[in-house]
């Protein structure tokens, strides 16, 4: 079964009378528990592909299926529910809420989903424990190290038990050593949960963590 399937996905932006093709008939099949690295230069369409896969953008043409749900025809409300229930994001700048503790940052996801508070708290504690943050769950992001913050962000992405995790430039602001630690953490967590992941990166040194590497150039996907 595919965790993510793109079929001839095209994304075109209008700029006055000009058309800007951000993604040009891209097709991609990511299997369950598969980790795919997506590399390419700036402006190549990596972010557009990730956004379409995560239901943040709708494609101009083509089909997008996540865990066999066809999401390309979803309206904004359905996409919101899809993001809440079916995908997890790890953002480039971690993007934790600064006034929430590590545990509360995970519970934000459950808050939007109006999930049972007890179950959500148990899930957050379990994730933080697995991520080695049991003793840091009451700390605010400002009291955590960079690596700890990254781990909280990873935990948050898994909070809704997603079929697909989308990871945006996880090592862009890190040196090689810390970048590798973060990638090891992400990959081990993804593998531990048998979840599929798409990692967007421009850092070729990190691609060996993925099962498969794809390159995107000018909106066109090419095998790595």
């Amino acid at each position: 079964m595919s965790a993510l399937k793109l079929e001839n996905v095209r994304k075109v932006y209008q700029s006055g009378e000009d058309e800007i093709v951000a993604l040009d008939y891209a097709s991609l099949d990511v299997g369950d528990a598969e980790i795919v690295a997506l590399v390419g230069p700036s402006g190549s369409g990596k972010t557009t592909l990730l956004s379409i896969a995560g239901g943040l953008l709708s494609p101009s043409e083509g089909h997008v299926m996540v865990a066999n749900d066809e999401i390309s025809g979803y309206d904004p409300k359905q996409l919101t529910a899809f993001r809440r229930e079916s995908v997890g994001f790890v953002f480039q700048n971690v993007n934790l809420v600064p006034f929430l503790t590590a545990r509360e940052n995970l519970l934000v996801v459950a808050d939007f989903d109006r999930r049972d508070k007890k179950k959500a708290t148990a899930r957050a504690d379990q994730l933080l424990g697995e991520l080695g943050l049991e003793n840091r769950k009451a700390n605010l992001p400002g009291q955590l190290s960079g690596g700890e913050r990254q781990r909280v962000a990873v935990g948050r992405a898994f909070m809704n038990e997603p079929a697909l995790v989308l990871i945006d430039e996880p090592t862009s602001a890190l040196d090689t050593k810390l970048g590798e630690q973060v990638m090891e953490l992400i990959v081990s967590e993804v593998r531990a949960r048998d979840t599929a992941a798409v990692i967007v990166t421009h850092d070729m040194r990190m691609t060996h963590y993925a099962d498969r590497v794809l390159t995107i150039v000018d909106g066109t996907l090419q095998p790595g």
Partner: protein, 366 residues
């Protein structure tokens, strides 16, 4: 919504500018409202307390209690009008009164009455005895004292307190008709009314009777020598009352508008600052509605807290306001200000709604 409350708890300083502005606006609204109520109550209490739904004046008096004169013949005609249940005469003298132990005279409105107004006992049986409005305590009046009323210092003894019965900002004294006549005769012999003549009548209508129809029937029965109005019309025709209310209400409504602007501007800026965070929330599946509820909840909580603080400050400040300033802080005014501010904070926060809706979740990525 939990996130909104956590932020309020952990980052109170972030909301301090809006909260301080709202505390000051609450204080202003309560003081303005208190002054309006104080002026209104102090001017109209005697008429609002009248037991009858209708008040009858002589037609040429133009609804002035002081100028009006109703003779015994007219009173008899009024009593005969269908729908009239009870008729009572009222008279008033606006005078100064020397209070024992006080250097300055108190301004009093000494009423003679037949039918007891609300909260006022039946007329004292003894000449020279009066019930005094409790507000006169502020100028040193006490039960058991003898006040010397008018230029001839006619003595009247205070035998008890009544509340909210002042007239034209003068402290109400309520005695029997003979006391009123005696005081007026002492102060202004030229203005003494003939026996059986009053300045106005309070008319209690029969159950089920339409007061407006009874009023028209009274004026018809007296061949238009009277002008009969409802109690509220009588109150509104007192000099300056409508203008006073209109002026104060204009200031109060403007202040409510400013409160909405404060909330609108503050939360518009806060939303602008948080666009990145809201984009992340939306990427994680938050709806615009959920985010807007957070903004609105914060606006309402801040406004409510600001109201409570502002109300406490207003009550404390009122303790230091001189007794001559007619301020009346009432629960109903407080509720009105609280509800008004909460509504305005909701209205103000809706300015952020458009911006929240326009936050693009895709901007959370790169």
């Amino acid at each position: 919504m939990r996130i909104a409350f956590i932020e309020l708890r952990r980052r109170p300083g972030r909301f301090a500018p809006a909260a301080i502005a709202l505390v000051l606006l609450t204080l202003l609204l309560l003081v303005l409202g208190g002054l309006l109520d104080g002026l209104y109550n102090g001017s109209t209490g005697a008429l609002r307390a009248q037991p009858g739904e209708l008040l009858v004046y002589s037609s040429e008096a133009k609804l002035s209690l002081v100028r009006s004169r109703i003779g015994p013949k007219t009173i008899a005609e009024v009593q005969q009008v269908p729908g009239v249940n009870e008729v009572g005469g009222i008279g008033v003298g606006l005078l100064g009164a020397a209070v024992p132990g006080q250097a300055a005279d108190a301004s009093v409105a000494l009423f003679g009455y037949e039918l007891p107004p609300k909260g006022v006992p039946a007329p004292p049986s003894t000449l020279g005895e009066v019930y005094a409005d409790r507000s006169l305590q502020a100028v040193g009046v006490a039960v058991g004292q003898s006040l010397l009323v008018g230029p001839q210092h006619y003595p009247v003894a205070v035998i008890g307190w009544v509340s909210d019965t002042n007239f034209l900002l003068q402290g109400g004294l309520w005695g029997n008709v003979d006391t009123w006549r005696a005081v007026v005769a002492s102060a202004r012999p030229d203005a003494v009314l003939a026996p059986g003549t009053f300045q106005a009548l309070t008319v209690v209508t029969e159950t089920g009777a339409n007061p407006s129809e009874v009023a028209a029937a009274i004026d018809s029965a007296t061949s238009a020598t009277t002008r009969t109005v409802t109690r509220s019309e009588a109150v509104n025709s007192l000099p300056g009352i409508k203008e006073q209310r209109a002026t104060f209400n204009s200031i109060i409504y403007t202040t409510f508008f400013v409160a909405a602007l404060v909330v609108a501007l503050f939360f518009a800026l806060l939303t602008l600052e948080r666009i990145g965070m809201y984009a992340v929330f939306k990427a994680m599946g938050a709806s615009s509605r959920q985010i807007f509820i957070q903004v609105m909840s914060q606006a309402i909580v801040i406004t409510t807290i600001a109201f409570v603080v502002g109300a406490v400050v207003a009550v404390l400040a009122s303790l230091f306001i001189p007794a001559q300033v007619p301020i009346s802080l009432t629960l109903s005014r407080g509720v009105q200000v609280a509800v008004g501010l909460v509504v305005m904070s909701f209205v103000g926060s809706t300015i952020s709604l458009r911006r929240v809706i326009r936050v693009d979740p895709a901007s959370a990525i790169s």
